[in-house]
């Protein structure tokens, strides 16, 4: 028996509303631990081309050879031998929601996922449950225009050449320890291809759910926006509350071809026993625009720094990041922008909150290569602490090797101000309401860049977390 949500010692607050889990035996669950054998078995199950198997095995060697990162958060408690690297609940990836097994459907119903698709708010929906994608669907007219939106495994079966052409080109297998791990044991994730000039006018969404205890979810997402195309992809994540920790280590690679415009929005609300160690990177070519909107609310530890490599003149990269750390949480999040070509521009806006003893860290890197003249960048990171025993740090690193650039940088760390609280309370607002209002105002610049539904959801999640913290 698994620990009921209400008794879980690692998640002191009971407000986490997605803490339930399904008590259904998985179809396939590899024994715990990581080895060449495990990697071979995953590759066998998926019946993959040989190049992928070799890539996985090589990546596992990279993973084993690399030390644990010593910066960022506390990773010492992760026991790589105590994790199931592959758990499959069902044997099919359905494109008709009715065919998805009932208990999985129920889970997603509780999370409100198919609802949004039914209401026409989304152009396509994907759902991953543990290791495998269980559902993918895309609006017919987009499919007719050649837009591909499917599970990465399925893409590898149906479009092997396209996957091979781009896979690991943005994030090499040995980029970092967790990217290596993902490359070795990856399963699931979304594959998107948007043909030249096609505009996917409303978002595609994928929903990631960890259900099994002690499991690792290693989805691999690859997005290719061809010339002059446009797409917005949104992902949401939740997990049940168990007494032991889970690992989520995804890799997301995005290629923004000339003139394309890609926006990738994440609302991460993992339960407080998930290590969320994710590598996300995009390359942007001539005049392309890449935007990461990254909301980190849940997890025990998140280490995630969405990156944009600006490869050709005119490319623009943007990262909007919100992190909120409550009790027992560490959000180590930020952004990385690399100006590798002249006349490229970037904006980083980060807002982090810490409350109830939580810790948030902004970690950013802005790099401008020698010769990348005429670059402009603006970095702004603000941290707000709600109480004395919470913690906030900012580590904005700048490596500027070119003189003819225009770089603006501003960082603030503040506590919810006594004067602001007094002002609002002097108008009759309770301390809790006043604090909420100040916090909402603080994150407003990012919230307003979200589509309405997500803005509402994000505000709701932040408020939920604050209710636990300020009572």
């Amino acid at each position: 028996m698994t620990t009921p949500a209400s008794e879980a010692p690692v998640t002191p607050r009971s407000e986490y509303e997605f803490g339930f889990h399904d008590d259904v035996e998985a179809l396939v669950k590899l024994p715990k631990g990581l080895s060449h054998e495990v990697v071979n078995t995953i590759s066998d199950i998926k019946d993959e081309p040989e190049w992928m198997r070799k890539l996985r095995l090589k990546a596992l060697d990279h993973f084993n050879a690399r030390p644990m990162p010593e910066w960022g958060g506390e990773l010492g408690d992760i026991d790589f031998n105590d994790i199931h690297y592959y758990v499959r609940a069902t044997d099919r990836d359905e494109s008709d929601w009715e065919d998805v097994p009932d208990y999985i459907k129920d889970t997603y119903d509780k999370l409100g996922i198919p609802e949004a698709e039914k209401q026409g708010l989304l152009a396509g929906v994907g759902a991953q449950y543990d290791s495998e994608v269980v559902y993918h669907n895309i609006r017919e007219d987009l499919e007719e225009k050649g837009v591909l939106f499917l599970g990465t495994d399925q893409a590898l079966r149906e479009y092997p050449d396209l996957v091979k052409e781009y896979f690991t080109t943005v994030i090499p297998p040995n980029d970092n320890k967790f990217a290596a791990l993902n490359t070795a044991v990856w399963s699931g994730g979304s594959f998107i291809y948007v043909p030249p000039g096609v505009n996917v006018d409303i978002p595609l969404q994928a929903y990631f759910r960890i259900n099994s205890e002690d499991m690792g979810q290693f989805e691999r997402t690859l997005i290719i926006a061809d010339e002059g195309s446009q797409v917005h992809y949104v992902e949401g994540c939740t997990a049940p509350i168990y007494s032991s920790d889970s690992l989520h280590s995804a890799v997301v690679e995005i290629v923004c071809k000339p003139g394309s415009n890609v926006r990738y929005t994440t609302i991460q609300n993992w339960s407080n026993n998930v290590y969320n160690l994710v590598t996300k990177r995009a390359t942007a070519y001539q005049d392309a625009v890449m935007t990461w909107v990254d909301g980190n609310l849940g997890s025990k530890l998140t280490m995630k720094y969405p990156a944009v490599y600006l490869m050709e003149p005119g490319a623009h990269g943007e990262v909007l990041s919100i992190a909120s750390a409550g009790q027992g949480q560490h959000q180590d999040a930020g952004a990385k922008i690399v100006h590798a070509a002249p006349n490229t521009t970037s904006v980083i806006t980060s807002k982090s909150l810490s409350m109830d003893g939580g810790r948030s860290t902004y970690r950013g890197l802005l790099k401008v290569y020698d010769g990348a003249d005429g670059c402009r960048s603006n970095v702004r990171c603000d941290a707000l602490m709600l109480d004395e025993h919470s913690r906030s740090d900012t580590y904005p690193v700048m490596e500027i090797d070119e003189k003819r650039v225009d770089i603006g940088h501003e960082a603030t760390v503040s506590k919810v101000g006594d004067e602001q609280l007094f002002y609002l309370m002097a108008r009759g607002l309770s301390e809790a309401e006043a604090t909420k209002m100040i916090v909402n105002g603080f994150v407003e610049p990012i919230i307003k860049s979200l589509p309405l539904e997500y803005a509402v959801e994000m505000n709701r999640l932040i408020e939920l977390q604050m209710e636990g913290a300020i009572g």
Partner: protein
């Protein structure tokens, strides 16, 4: 005589262990306007903030009563909901929070129930018009990037919306040009009725030409050293605070 609406009774206030207000007493009856005039640093803002319950100002003697009930133990929001109002000398900016959202929350808090949008809009637009403020003004963030005059008008806007029983106005006149001063004063006069009372804290006499005080008090070193009618303000205007500050002068001479 009508019962007092607001009483400050032998109030002593300290900031960071420094005694600023030294046993100050004042009684406001319904319909009255009292002016407190004092030089810079005499403790005007300290008094105003402590009346509203600012946590940095410690009250260590005396009492504050609204309609006969002591409020010194109450938090600022509780005082506000009972009908006490402070127009700030330096209103704080709250980036990201729109005026309109803030005003609606404040008004609902004061009423003790959610105010319907339609009614709120109507009252809001009426007062905005009266203060010659653009409707777009309330789309801006609370006091964020407001000019000095805009901040003061925004305080009067709140006064009008919240309809307190007692309004303490901390140097609402300072930093206003003559037109703005007139508009702000009209805002105060429109609010004023036989049922409420105003404590007008000011450094200069000029606002008293627009808002007629029933009583004028001179504040020096946290004490009321003289009280009188409107003519006291004229005397101050003519002679300055100097004649009232004799004790301080002596100290300088003897040191």
């Amino acid at each position: 005589m009508t019962p007092p609406l607001f009483e400050i009774d032998a109030l002593q206030v300290a900031v960071e262990d420094k005694q600023i207000v030294n046993g100050l007493s004042l009684t406001l009856r319904p319909g009255e306007v009292h002016a407190i005039m004092g030089p810079n640093g005499s403790g005007k803002s300290t008094l105003a903030n402590s009346l509203m319950g600012h946590p940095r100002y410690t009250i260590h003697g005396g009492d504050i009563r609204l309609e006969g009930e002591s409020v010194v133990e109450l938090a600022p929001d509780e005082r506000a909901r009972l009908g006490l109002f402070l127009a700030f000398q330096y209103p704080t900016d709250i980036p990201g929070v729109s005026m309109i959202n803030f005003l609606r929350r404040a008004m609902s808090a004061r009423r003790g129930e959610e105010i319907p949008v339609r009614e709120f809009r109507q009252v809001l637009n009426e007062i905005l018009g009266r203060l010659q403020m653009d409707e777009q003004f309330v789309r801006r963030y609370v006091n964020d990037g407001f000019s000095g005059g805009e901040k003061k008008r925004a305080e009067i806007l709140q006064l009008g919306l919240l309809e307190p029983k007692v309004a303490v106005m901390d140097e609402t006149d300072s930093g206003l040009d003559i037109d703005a001063l007139r508009i702000v004063s009209e805002g105060i006069n429109t609010f004023h009725s036989d049922d409420n009372a105003i404590l007008l804290i000011t450094h200069y006499q000029r606002i008293l030409r627009y808002v007629q005080p029933d009583h004028v008090h001179v504040l020096i070193d946290g004490r009321i050293v003289e009280s009188g009618d409107a003519s006291l303000a004229e005397r101050l205007e003519r002679d300055g605070y100097e004649p009232f500050m004799a004790p301080a002068k002596e100290e300088v001479l003897t040191s």
